[in-house]
Structures are given as structure tokens and as C-alpha cells.
């Protein structure tokens, strides 16, 4: 009732969930062996920035949405230049893509007949 079988692979979410809970329990046990002398608000909790002082800001620091994956997006810049160019936002371009695909599908269907 729970699991799925594709005929060549099996997925049992209940077993997976039990395993996940077991790993959490083990993690908690390992954590309990940690340093009991940990104190909040002391140097122990200070951010380590290669020995430099943590910069102070009034609102705190937050990594904004566009700051994530900039390296990956930059690495794919050639791809993104082309794909963004498709998305012109111009209605006649939308229709042109539609008609282009229609023509291609016609050719394939007729040739395969």
C-alpha cells in the first residue's frame, strides 16, 4: 500500500522515513557527546571571518536572492544570453514560435505517415 514498484526499481517511503528518523536519533545522540561548556553570547558564538572583525550593520546582513548562484549563472552566460533573447515579451514573437513549431510538427507527421 505504501511502496511503489516500477518493475525494475522499488520505492518505499515508510522505510525511508523510518531510516531518516533513525539517522536523526543517532545524530542527536552524537550531538549529546558535544562540549557541554558551550555558552551563547560569548566569543564561542562569534562569526570567524579569517581573523577579521565581523562588520556591523544596523539591520544585519542578508544574502539577497540575486547573490545566490551568480557564479553558475555567469558560467552559463552564453546559454542565458540566447534563452533570454527568446523571451522578448513581444506578442508577435510568441505567435512566431507557435507557428514555427506547428510547421515543424506538420512536416514530421506527414513524413512519418
Amino acid at each position: 500500500m505504501s511502496g511503489l514498484s516500477s518493475g525494475f526499481g522499488v520505492w518505499n517511503p515508510i522505510a525511508w522515513a523510518l531510516l531518516f528518523v533513525g539517522i536523526l536519533v543517532v545524530s542527536f545522540i552524537v550531538r549529546s557527546f558535544g562540549n557541554k561548556g558551550y555558552k551563547r553570547g560569548t566569543g564561542q558564538t562569534k562569526v570567524f571571518l579569517s581573523g577579521n572583525d565581523e562588520p556591523e550593520t544596523s539591520n544585519g546582513l542578508h544574502v539577497r536572492g540575486d547573490h545566490l548562484y551568480w557564479g553558475m549563472i555567469d558560467g552559463l552566460s552564453a546559454y542565458y544570453r540566447r534563452v533570454k533573447a527568446w523571451h522578448t515579451g513581444i506578442l508577435s514573437d510568441y505567435a512566431a514560435w507557435f507557428v514555427g513549431v506547428l510547421g515543424l510538427v506538420f512536416v514530421i507527421l506527414v513524413l512519418a505517415r
Binding site: 516500477s6 525511508w16 536572492g65 534563452v83
Partner: protein, 519 residues
């Protein structure tokens, strides 16, 4: 079969349609009366869809035929009779789509009661909401090609109006116009195809046409028009450009309904390929057309989502990519239907199971996005941050929807993608590699959205926000429940609702025809 179940197909269309016209009138009595009417309608619709599904799935997949203004014929017909009246024909796939529509209608309506509480134009909003639901039910239940077109147009009109609903925003007006133009183009091509089929065979009934179609050149032209028109309305790349505009600019609950509208077009595409043209096309060729469209949709959808900084458009591109997984599953099934049935059915199960999983996950994400955007006062992820400190439940709901859509176990998205990956791998390992890679990228997309909106230190903008009212929380919680239950017990749902739906398409062509015309 009870009288209610017998008349369920027409009631599923008539109730929301009549409700759509009654809403502005009842709305004059006040919001309470209007919401009561709409609540009763969506509850009735959900009950009827469930009854119909139980009846169809319980009968071993034998389609139910309903004749409008019935009593003239007894189905199946005999002695060469052909039906001339409007027919609804409900097999496993139609009943399955009815369940998806009912789920989103129910949660969307109740979410909207609170979401739209303080805004003007509620009567028109709910009127369009019900009209769109009626159109979707009509598309998935009808057994007649011309009526399919009529319901397609009803959804198009309601959807375009809904996208452009906020006329005071220039982006909404532009998006509404684009959606209207593209849906009209799609509708015209579908109508032209139906005209070609009617001109050749003199019938509009799907069962009659399915038995008549010979695979002539004209048939292939009609098939091309239908395939492209419906794939465009489903949001398949490269004909998807209207979709981020539509999902992004419509009110949040309507975005979820628009996704189901796209799925109804996908249903139409599958019905036409398997039932109408199933015996007269090269299934391998058409299967590979679907697979190529699927790969483009998955990859372009995900990569475009990655670079969005507008939360609604990010979720919208994510929703576009998921249409690709459905196309991939069904495309693989179609490509191997004649040669490798042992994994063709698994592929179909995966693609079809992903439809209901996608509806729940994307619905949840659009609801949560609407709540977040309203609280933050902006859609720009670069302007958000720290919302999770005061919106704990919303952040949990968003996270569950996101990881489920990305296919992280043990949620429902993984269960359907597991079947798709496995079957696609058997056909060609490259398909599975690209599908898995894109799922990982989708997870990265939602990590970005979650990090940008909910994490980070408390700020002035996040100081006064809070979780929404119970009226919005409960519909989101209901979808979370679906996500978790479908994820933990996928075997039960695949056995009882997905497999009958997949078999109705994959193996049920003769049963669909025979239910109307007899053996």
C-alpha cells in the same frame, strides 16, 4: 449507480456555470451570502467529483456515458446508430482530472474568501473563478469535440479576464492581453482541426471520430493543429512565453487554477493522441515529439526560474517546468506503447501521477507566494528577507511545497518522478539524466527563493508581518496534507486512481469507443 452519480457529469459543469452567473446577483445581498453560495457550490462539486471517481474506478474502468437531455438512446448504441446529442463520457482519466479540478476548486475558493476579503471586485473575481472551473470540468468530461472547443473557449475567456483582472496594474493588462491573444490563436487552430475532421467524417462525437479516422493527410493536418494548439495552451516550451506572464500576474489563488487549466489542455492533448488518433498515427514518432517538447520544457523552465528575482515569476517558471515531466512520462509511454509495454505503462503512471502532485505542490506554492507578497509588500526577492521569523507556518508550508515539487523524498513529487525517471532511463538514459539534473536545479531555485524571502536577520520590513488568517492557513494546510499523504502512501493512490487513469488512455481506447457505439 445513484441518480446523483448518474447526473454528476452535467452537474459538475452546470453548478459552477450557473454559480458564475448567480454570483453577481447574490453578491448584492452581501459578501456572506455570496461566499456561502460559492462554498456550497465547490463543496457540492468536490462531492460529485469524488462520487463519479468512485463509480468509474469501482466499475473496473468502464466509461460512464451521459446524454444531455437524455432518454433518446440507450448506451452503448446498436445497429449502426450514431449519437447526435451532446455526450459526456467519463473514463478513468476523466474522473482523475475531475478529482484534480475539485481539489484546486475547493482549496482555491476557500483561500480566496480570506485573500480577497478586503478587496473590491469580489463578485467579478468569484464569477470568473467559477466560470473557469466550469470550463475545466467541461473539457475533461465531454465526449464531443465541438463541446471540447466550447469549454476550451470558456476557460480562455475566464482565464484571460482573470489574468488582466487588476486593471490598475499595467503589467496585468499587458499579461491579460497576451494570454487572450495566444489562447485565441490556440482556440482557432483547435476549431480549424475540428472543422477538418467534421468535413471528412460528418461527426463531432469523439468515439465516432475515433472509429472513423483513417490517418489521411487531412487527418494529419488536423492532428498537427490539435497537438500544437493544446501543447501551447499547456505551456510547453518554446510556446510557453505567455505562461509566466499569466501565472505571475493573476491573483495568487487564480494562478493555482490556471495551472489546472493548463493541465486540462494537457488532458485534451492526451485524449486526442491516445483515443482519437491512437490507431492511425505512428506512436513512436508522436511519442518522440512529446519527449522533445518535454525536455525543452523541463530544462528551459528550470533554468529560467533560476534567474528570476520576482517570486511569482520564479514559481511560474517552476510550474512550466513541471508540465515537461508530465509530457515526458506520457511521451515515453506513447513512444514504446507498441514495443516495450512493460515500462510504457510505468511511464504513463508517472506522468499522470505527477499531474495531481503538481497541482497540489504548485497550488500550495502560489498560495504561499500570495501570502508572502502581501506581507512583504513586494514581489522582488531582493527586497525581502527575514520573513520566517514571524511567518513560521507560511515558511514551513512554502518549504514543503518547494521540496515536494523538486522531487525530494519522501514527498509526493518524488514518487511520481521516480516512476518517470525509471521508465525514461529504460528508453534512453540521457532522458533520465536530464530530468534528474533539472529536478536538482529546481531545488536550487527554491533554496534561493526560501533563503531570500524567509531567512536572514529580522529587518524593518519584516517586523510587522505575521502568518495569515485561519481562512488562508487551512487551505494551505489541506494541500500540505495531500503532499504528505500522497508522498507516504504512493502505492495506494497509484493502484486506485492513477493506474485506472493511465490504463484508460493507454489501453482503454476500445472501451471508450464501445461505451458509446457498442462492440
Amino acid at each position: 449507480m445513484t441518480a446523483l452519480t448518474l447526473h454528476a457529469p452535467i452537474l459538475l459543469v452546470a453548478l459552477p456555470l450557473l454559480g458564475a452567473f448567480a454570483t453577481p446577483l447574490v453578491g448584492k445581498l452581501g459578501k456572506g451570502a455570496r461566499n456561502t453560495l460559492i462554498g456550497l457550490i465547490v463543496l457540492a462539486v468536490a462531492g460529485l467529483a469524488a462520487m463519479l471517481a468512485i463509480d468509474v474506478f469501482g466499475s473496473g474502468g468502464i466509461p460512464t456515458v451521459y446524454e444531455l437531455g437524455g432518454g433518446t438512446f440507450t448506451f452503448p448504441l446498436s445497429g449502426g446508430q450514431v449519437p447526435v446529442r451532446i455526450l459526456f463520457e467519463v473514463d478513468g482519466m476523466s474522473a482523475f482530472m475531475g478529482l484534480i479540478t475539485a481539489l484546486i476548486a475547493l482549496t482555491g475558493a476557500f483561500f480566496s474568501f480570506s485573500y480577497w476579503k478586503e478587496r473590491s471586485g469580489g463578485n467579478l473575481y468569484f464569477s470568473l473563478f467559477l466560470m473557469l472551473i466550469a470550463g475545466v470540468f467541461g473539457m475533461v468530461l465531454t465526449g464531443d469535440m465541438f463541446n471540447f472547443f466550447v469549454f476550451l473557449e470558456i476557460t480562455s475567456i475566464a482565464a484571460a479576464s482573470m489574468v488582466g483582472f487588476r486593471v490598475w496594474l499595467k503589467q496585468s493588462q499587458e499579461a491579460g492581453f497576451k494570454v487572450m491573444a495566444m489562447y485565441t490563436l490556440s482556440g482557432l487552430f483547435v476549431l480549424l482541426a475540428i472543422g477538418l475532421l467534421y468535413g471528412q467524417y460528418g461527426h463531432l462525437n469523439i468515439a465516432v471520430l475515433a472509429r472513423s479516422i483513417q490517418g489521411s493527410l487531412t487527418d494529419m493536418v488536423a492532428l498537427g493543429l490539435l497537438l500544437t494548439g493544446l501543447a501551447m495552451k499547456a505551456g510547453a516550451v518554446p510556446m510557453h512565453m505567455w505562461a509566466p506572464d499569466a501565472y505571475g500576474e493573476s491573483p495568487a489563488p487564480m494562478s493555482a487554477v490556471l495551472v489546472v487549466n493548463s493541465q486540462a489542455s494537457l488532458y485534451g492533448l492526451f485524449r486526442i493522441l491516445f483515443t482519437l488518433f491512437g490507431a492511425s498515427i505512428s506512436t513512436g514518432t508522436v511519442g518522440w515529439i512529446l519527449i522533445v517538447l518535454a525536455l525543452l520544457t523541463i530544462f528551459v523552465g528550470v533554468t529560467m526560474a533560476l534567474i528570476q528575482s520576482d517570486l511569482k515569476r520564479l514559481v511560474a517558471f517552476g510550474a512550466v517546468s513541471q508540465i515537461g515531466y508530465m509530457l515526458l512520462g506520457v511521451g515515453v509511454g506513447m513512444a514504446v506503447i507498441a514495443t516495450r509495454p512493460e515500462y510504457g505503462l510505468v511511464a504513463m503512471q508517472g506522468g499522470i501521477f505527477h499531474m495531481i502532485n503538481d497541482a497540489a505542490c504548485v497550488g500550495l506554492l502560489f498560495f504561499a507566494s500570495g501570502v508572502v507578497i502581501r506581507a512583504a509588500g513586494t514581489r522582488d526577492l531582493n527586497q525581502m528577507g527575514g520573513l520566517g521569523h514571524r511567518m513560521k507556518w507560511t515558511s514551513i508550508f512554502f518549504a514543503i511545497g518547494a521540496v515536494a515539487l523538486a522531487g525530494v523524498p519522501p514527498f509526493n513529487g518524488f514518487a511520481s518522478k521516480f516512476l518517470i525517471y525509471e521508465a525514461a532511463f529504460k528508453l534512453n538514459p540521457f532522458l533520465a539524466v536530464l530530468a534528474v539534473l533539472s529536478s536538482i536545479m529546481l531545488l536550487a531555485v527554491f533554496v534561493k527563493a526560501f533563503q531570500a524571502a524567509f531567512l536572514g536577520p529580522r529587518s524593518n520590513t519584516s517586523a510587522h508581518v505575521s502568518d495569515p488568517s485561519l481562512g488562508m492557513m487551512l487551505p494551505m494546510a489541506a494541500l500540505v496534507l495531500v503532499v504528505i499523504v500522497f508522498g507516504l502512501f504512493p502505492g495506494f493512490f497509484v493502484d486506485h486512481i492513477v493506474t485506472p487513469a493511465a490504463k484508460a488512455l493507454w489501453l482503454g481506447r476500445d472501451a471508450y469507443i464501445n461505451a458509446v457505439l457498442g462492440g
